[in-house]
């Protein structure tokens, strides 16, 4: 049982104004989606992520659907970023990190010994919290992925296509040779997304992609995400619940359990269609979090 959740705390009443519950109108439009995921891209069964002896994420079982936007929400230190980074084996880069349980991508265990993490990362792209453009030109940033992957393509066309899809082309088409550092934070993040789709991945993982952006840039990225979801499967970690409500089809709420030694372990509390999570959560901890009582 989570220590964060205090059962003695006053439970929510029907009076929305008094609970301080967030405005969920964003999730109330659009079609209802079923609880179960039909077209499964990721199938997680009892996934546990360790850093050395420390169990950062315990026992996650969930399915992520194709061409859906799945949001991971929860307080800091609940393991949602850690879990996200294990989807494309970026956790391999941290000495001592390991994954237990089954994390299957289209039925293939991506932690099987014969799997090449490079191949996994080519299919499952990632966008980071801070726009990490390369210290190169805008053009080179987009062309880098296809080049290192040995893709035989018309690079000029591909760069234009990716920048257009990332809603950046009109802003940079005359400055392709300029350094990517000359762009604003929001433009840089869209460049990173363009760079990511240039290697033609199926999945895009986004680790708090708007954390360092202003609201206008954030809105642009969110529009872009919805646009990209037609062709890509997107998993996004966010601290911004409104953002999760606005963009995602499904939401997973994570929290941190504190064990007897005071060590925090992330765990999945509740997962389901975003509208249900925000309007009728099953777990009181989810209710507390989305109504702003903690986190």
């Amino acid at each position: 049982m989570s220590e964060i959740h205090d059962p003695a705390a006053p439970q929510s009443t029907s009076d929305l104004a008094n609970t301080g519950r967030m405005d969920v109108s964003a999730v109330l439009e659009g079609a209802e989606i079923p609880e179960t995921v039909s077209n499964i891209v990721f199938d997680l069964a009892n996934v546990r992520v360790f850093y050395g002896d420390f169990e950062a994420v315990r026992d996650v079982t969930m399915q992520i659907g194709r061409n859906e936007i799945t949001a991971f929400i929860g307080p800091s230190g609940c393991g949602k970023s850690t879990l996200l980074r294990s989807f494309n084996r970026m956790n391999d880069l941290i000495p001592g990190a390991r994954v237990e349980g089954l994390l299957a991508y289209h039925g293939f265990d991506i932690y099987a010994p014969e799997v090449d993490p490079i191949e996994v990362r080519r299919r499952i792209g990632m966008v980071f919290q801070k726009p990490n453009v390369f210290p190169k030109s805008i053009y080179e940033n987009v062309a880098y992925g296809p080049k290192v992957n040995g893709m035989k393509v018309n690079m000029d066309d591909l760069v234009e296509e990716c920048l257009t899809r990332a809603a950046l082309w009109d802003e940079v088409k005359d400055d392709l040779k300029k350094s990517a550092y000359a762009l604003s934070g929001g433009q840089q993040q869209r460049l990173v997304i363009a760079r990511c789709i240039a290697v033609k991945p199926e999945v895009i993982l986004m680790d708090e992609p708007c954390a360092s952006l202003d609201p206008i840039a954030t809105a642009k990225i969110e529009d872009l995400m919805k646009e990209l979801a037609k062709d890509y499967t997107i998993v996004i970690v966010t601290h911004n619940m409104q953002q999760a409500a606005r963009v995602s089809e499904r939401t997973a709420f994570f929290t941190a359990d504190v064990d007897a030694n005071g060590v925090r372990h992330g765990r999945l509390v509740e997962y389901g269609p975003t509208r249900r999570i925000f309007t009728a959560p099953n777990d009181p901890r989810t209710e507390d979090y989305i109504s702003g009582r903690f986190g």
């Binding site: 494309n88 970026m90 880069l93 000495p95 001592g96 490079i118 191949e119 990362r121 080519r122 299919r123 792209g125 990632m126 980071f128 801070k130 990490n132 453009v133 390369f134 210290p135 880098y144 992925g145 290192v148 992957n149 550092y181 990173v192 760079r195 990511c196 290697v199």
Partner: protein, 299 residues
């Protein structure tokens, strides 16, 4: 304690003059400044001394003429200048690739927590502190004798390469470490291999830092005399080196030899050559500083 809680606009007039800087504070400031000044002042005294003393010989004959025992007023240091260039070229040729790639291994490939890595790391730092004369003995035993390379440019180049290798490795590692981790992660997340990431992202981003460290390391090698004395740099040589297996002398050796002579002309000649050597070293350091300033903070 109520007195401290009275709001400032009460009755007492406001005095922002304070108590003035206490004497101890001022004294301490001056002591700090003097300590700094000692080093700078001595550098300038040295520069002024050798420049004034060597002034009569700071003419083109210094680098146009060969050394001469009989006619010091006509002698020059051309063979020492070309010898220095030859030796430092071979030093760079050996030390740079090995140093860069060794540093890349340590920083990008090796597991930082492994015992072996930490052992190597400590020993590289120890190596940087080994006196240069010890490298001279090593070079004499291994390159000159065991490998029978003799008293040649290549022996000197190899020995000086060993001498500066730890410095190059340490500075290259620092340059690589200064490249933000998220650049590497960005590259790896696109499906690039570790080698592609290192070669196309990390190393290009680290080049300014690597260049700075390298230039400083090479300027140290240029100023070295001790190991070369052991390795048999020739004290008097009136021709330029003709290749890697040629006999040679270098500027520090030439200076050392001239200062040993009793005649005043040689002392003047030595001073003039010291100025020449210092100009070369300061110029190299200036280039290093220039590169550092040009490329600071790109992320």
């Amino acid at each position: 304690m109520t007195a401290t809680l009275v709001s400032p606009d009460a009755t007492a007039p406001i005095d922002l003059g304070g108590k003035g800087q206490p004497l101890a504070d001022k004294t301490f400031r001056w002591i700090l400044f003097l300590c700094l000044a000692v080093g700078i002042v001595f550098l300038f005294v040295l520069l002024a001394y050798v420049t004034i003393k060597g002034w009569p010989r700071l003419t083109p004959t210094l680098w146009e003429n060969m050394p001469s025992i009989r006619r010091p007023e006509q002698a020059g240091a051309q063979s020492a200048i070309t010898g220095t260039l030859w030796v430092i070229t071979f030093t760079a040729l050996f030390a740079l690739p090995v140093g860069f790639l060794g540093a890349v291994y340590m920083e990008e490939y090796a597991n930082p927590t492994s015992r072996f890595t930490r052992f190597v790391e400590i020993n590289i730092q120890n190596l940087a502190a080994v006196p240069s004369i010890v490298y001279g003995i090593l070079g004499l035993a291994i390159f000159a004798r065991a490998l029978a390379l003799g008293q040649t440019v290549i022996t000197a180049g190899l020995t000086l390469a060993l001498l500066v290798l730890p410095v190059i490795i340490v500075s290259t590692r620092e340059a690589l470490r200064a490249v933000p981790q998220n650049i590497r992660h960005g590259s790896l997340a696109l499906g690039a291999t570790l080698w592609q990431t290192t070669w196309r992202q990390t190393m290009p981003a680290a080049i300014p830092g690597m260049a700075t460290g390298t230039i400083l390391a090479l300027s140290r090698a240029i100023g070295e005399a001790a190991p070369l004395l052991l390795l048999g740099a020739v004290s008097f040589i009136s021709f330029n080196p003709t290749g890697p297996f040629s006999a040679y002398t270098t500027l520090p050796i030439q200076i050392f030899n001239w200062t040993k002579e009793s005649r005043e002309e040689f002392q003047i000649l030595a001073s003039a050559t010291i100025v020449l050597l210092l100009v070369i070293l300061l110029a190299m350091n200036a280039v290093a500083i220039l590169i550092r300033n040009r490329t600071q903070k790109r992320w």
